[in-house]
Amino acid sequence: MPGVNRLLNFSRHKAIALSCGLAVIAISATVLAGWLTGSRALTAVMPGLIPMAPNTAIAFALLGTALCVLGGGRSWSRAVVRACVLLTLAMIVPRMVEYVLGTDFNVDSWVIEVPHEELSGTPVGRMAFFTALCFLFASIVFFALSLPARHRTVEALAGVASVTLTSIAVIFFFGYLIGSPLFSVGPTIPMALNTSFSFLLLGAGLISSMFDKRLLSFLPAELDAKMLRMHRMITAGFGLAFSTVLVVTILAYENSVRFAENSELVSHSYQLLAESGGLVATLKDAETGARGFVLSGNPDFLEPYEVARGRIGEQLLALKHLEKHHPHQQKRIDELAPFIEMRIRSATELMDVFGLNGPTAAQKLVASEEWKTAMDSIETFVSDLQEEERIFLELRLLQHESGLSRSITFFSLLTILVIILFTALYLVIERGLTERQRSEVALREAAREIEDLYHNAPCGYHSLDASGTFVQINATELSWLGWSREEVVGKMRFLDFLSVAGTELFKQSFPKFLENGSIKDLEFEMKRRDGSTFWVLLSATALIDDRGNFVRSRSTMFDITDKRRALEELHLQTNLYDTLLKTQSNLGEGVIMTETDRIIFVNEAFCRITGYPEVEIMALGSIFELIPAQRRDAAREQVTDFLRGETVDTRREMLIVHKTGRLVDLEIASEVIRAGGPPRLIAIVRDITARKNAERATRTLNASLKRKGEELELANKELETFSYTVSHDLRSPLRHIGGFVELLQKHAGHTIDEKGNRYLGIITTAAKHMGDLIDDLLVFSRMGRADLMNTRVDLTSLAQDVIQGLEPDTQGRKIQWKLGSLPEVLGDPSMLRMVFVNLISNALKYTRPRPVAVIELDSRKEENGDWVVWVKDNGVGFDMNYVHKLFGVFQRLHSSDEFEGTGIGLATVQRIMLRHGGRVWVEGKLGEGAIVYCAFPHPEEKIP
């Protein structure tokens, strides 16, 4: 949970630890400097206070360094910490041994020589027992913190140790603050003020470091910031309460020890008083005994004297022993001893005097001044001694009393403090518990929510252990697989659900996953219970415990069967599309796709058509680059309209510029594809340059044909004018010739001789022939120009009609008509009549030499649907060598003398047949007759 991590604010804890470490180093450096320079002021906080021992300062320097580097968390920093701890232990352990064994290795002077001094009865420069104990605790904590991975117990131990050492420091520090009740008492040397302060700093730094990471590592991650704050408050509160209770306990102990000491002192004083009184009494007894003996001479009196003499030494010794802690009093006792000695000796002297010199001398001696003075001075001594002891006693009693009342106040205050602390703690814990309960409810709800989400999410979730066996699986995934939870969890492996290919992939990826801690987007084919398969997309992360061991996987998978199917479909379509494009390309049809006008695809054929390699076409960018510059705007407009859907002409022709610069005609079929994004234009193009060129050629040809036609029409007009002129102007002179010859004959016929009349006759005939020629020519010409009617014409009846019309010419001749059935054709009746007139006239004309003329008219239908009509005669025929001359105007195969005629008839027939879309040809043999064939085209394809 990154949120909680942020709340813990690691850097602040590190900063606290670092500051504490640096402060500790600064203090220890100051103290060491004081010891090395002999400046006692630097070693203690103020004069009169006990200084920090040099070894203590060195240990602080080491542990302060350790505290500074502790936050580093790297292997070298751990090494530094351990080295500092080991060095510290090297000084602490021997000192502890000293304390335990009660011996003295002079450990404190191992590094810096410590002077043999005392301050108020305390030896200076020696490490206190509690100091050593605190260092031991600190060492344990540092060592625990330097371990890379720790057990919870170790951490708890470290926590307790750090709180304890801080508490001890607090006790001593408090002691100084409340007027040093612990200063001079206690079983051992007291901790210096700067030492206790340094321990406070060290403890604060360690606790801060532990907050940094250690203590929190066993807190449930779900704890929110509030719980965390509460936890800290509880820890701090307990620490404080614990310290306070510890202070109270130690103070109570100290107090009772002091009380006992005081009581002992008081009783000692009483004993002393009694003892000293006893001594004086004993002396007096001895004195009295001696006197009594001297006065009475009775040896019985000597008995108390002897007793006193025996006891006095004993009593003096006892007194001296009692005052052994009071050198002053002892001195006094020592001073008293010679007097007592002398007194005892005086008594012995008295005995001796009595024995030698008699009682009088002895009495005299007893009564002497010297004797009296000795006794007096002893009494004075003892009374002085007693006086002083009495003052002592009084002082002690006073002291005892005030200490007692102060202790009561102090204990009361501390007890109240403890009560307050515990009450506060209770409240905090109570609130914490409520809070916790509430958050547990919330957590349970959240957990239920999460569980519901877990099971019913639209994706599969499961967890595998290191062997790949299911530890957890959600309902969705189970429903996919078709198995029940009981069958799967703990019993089946993920592998059991995989296809062959999936198995391979799993075998490869699972070890990697265990190593790297995550995999992403692997595709597996999975088997359902019924044997069908489906595809999933799987991602997983590994859950790792505190010691870095793999716990289980947390895998998510999505059913991507549909997606894969769609992909396959897409793949198929892409293939199809590619194949189509290729086929199209093979056909020579170019394909181009644009996004608006930007070219995004071209096929090979398109490249061929335009002459550009694909890369260059793509580099052109816009499709309009391919269009001739002067047509670009129009094309752009067209394409824009087309893309907008305003025009729908999907086929059009277009001109583009080939890479070589020549123009290429394209036929384009295009469509717009709209599928989101800018519209796409797909166009299939075909190079139609060849066709267009052909079209252009045709157009040119047509134009020239039209011109020719116009020229022809002009020529026809001219011909018409010519014909008109001929018909009007040529005939006039002929008429005049004929007319005036006639008039001449009428006028002067009788005067002209026969020969002259013959000549006039020839002139008339010639003029008439000329008139016929002109008339036939005019008909021929008219046949070519006259508009064609197009109606059904029954050729049989037409032929009969013509034969009938020619009857006057056949008078007196034997003619055998063979009229077959003739078809009905489409055509101009008057023109077709002219055809039959000409053909039948000719047949009649050329059969004239025959006694019986046989003229046959018949027809047949050709395979192609054409009708062929022929006129056959048994006339003079012709030589086929000259057949080509038959249809020429004025061309004749016979002289006018043999057969009259103008030589225009067949030409006219041919012209009429041609105008009907048919044709005419002749077959003949000289002397054996001729056949003229006329072919009429099949109705469907006739009449131009």
């Binding site: 014909s723 008109y724 018909s727 009007h728 102007d729 005939r731 006039s732 002929l734 008429r735 005049h736 004929g738 007319g739 005036f740 010859v741 006639e742 008039l743 008339t764 003029a767 008439k768 000329m770 008139g771 008339d775 005019l778 008219r782 006259a786």
Partner: protein, 151 residues
């Protein structure tokens, strides 16, 4: 013979005029023939203009028209005659060398009364012209206002 009706012959060719007159003369029809040498002269005659200013009143009973003439040709003259209220009732006969269809059609379209092609053969010519003269000048009843010559 009866009253001969006046005939207006419009012909540019003197020879044709002579031949025509000769043919008409065969049947004594030549006397009341007025010859105009072209369309313009014919109009002058009809409108009493220039040399015909003093001519007797009345319209001719028949107009014989050649087509091809200088100045105003036969078809143009026909058009003017047939579009004039005073003259449109006068029978007009085309007497021409042209067999051309377009002339034929155009003439009938303009309202010609008959169309005769001059035959090359003189006999036929005589027959045709005299026939015409007989029919139009003698047999046919002329519309009112035509001038008759009394013998």
């Amino acid at each position: 013979m009866n009253d001969l009706k006046r005939i207006l012959l419009v012909e540019d060719s003197v020879r044709d005029v002579e031949l025509t007159l000769a043919a008409l003369d065969e049947h004594n029809l030549a006397n009341e023939v007025i010859v105009a040498r072209n369309g313009a002269e014919a109009l002058d005659y009809l409108f009493h203009r220039s040399e015909f200013a003093d001519r007797p009143r009345g319209n001719p009973a028949l107009i014989l028209l050649d087509i091809k003439m200088p100045k105003v040709d036969g078809l143009e003259l026909l058009r003017q005659i047939k579009s004039d209220e005073n003259f449109k009732l006068i029978p007009v006969v085309m007497l021409t060398s042209s067999r051309e269809e377009r002339d034929l059609i155009e003439s009938y379209r303009l309202g010609v009364n008959a169309y005769v092609v001059k035959p090359v053969d003189f006999d036929k010519f005589v027959k045709a012209v005299s026939g015409l003269g007989l029919f139009w000048a003698v047999i046919n009843e002329t519309p009112p206002g035509s001038v008759r010559k009394r013998d």
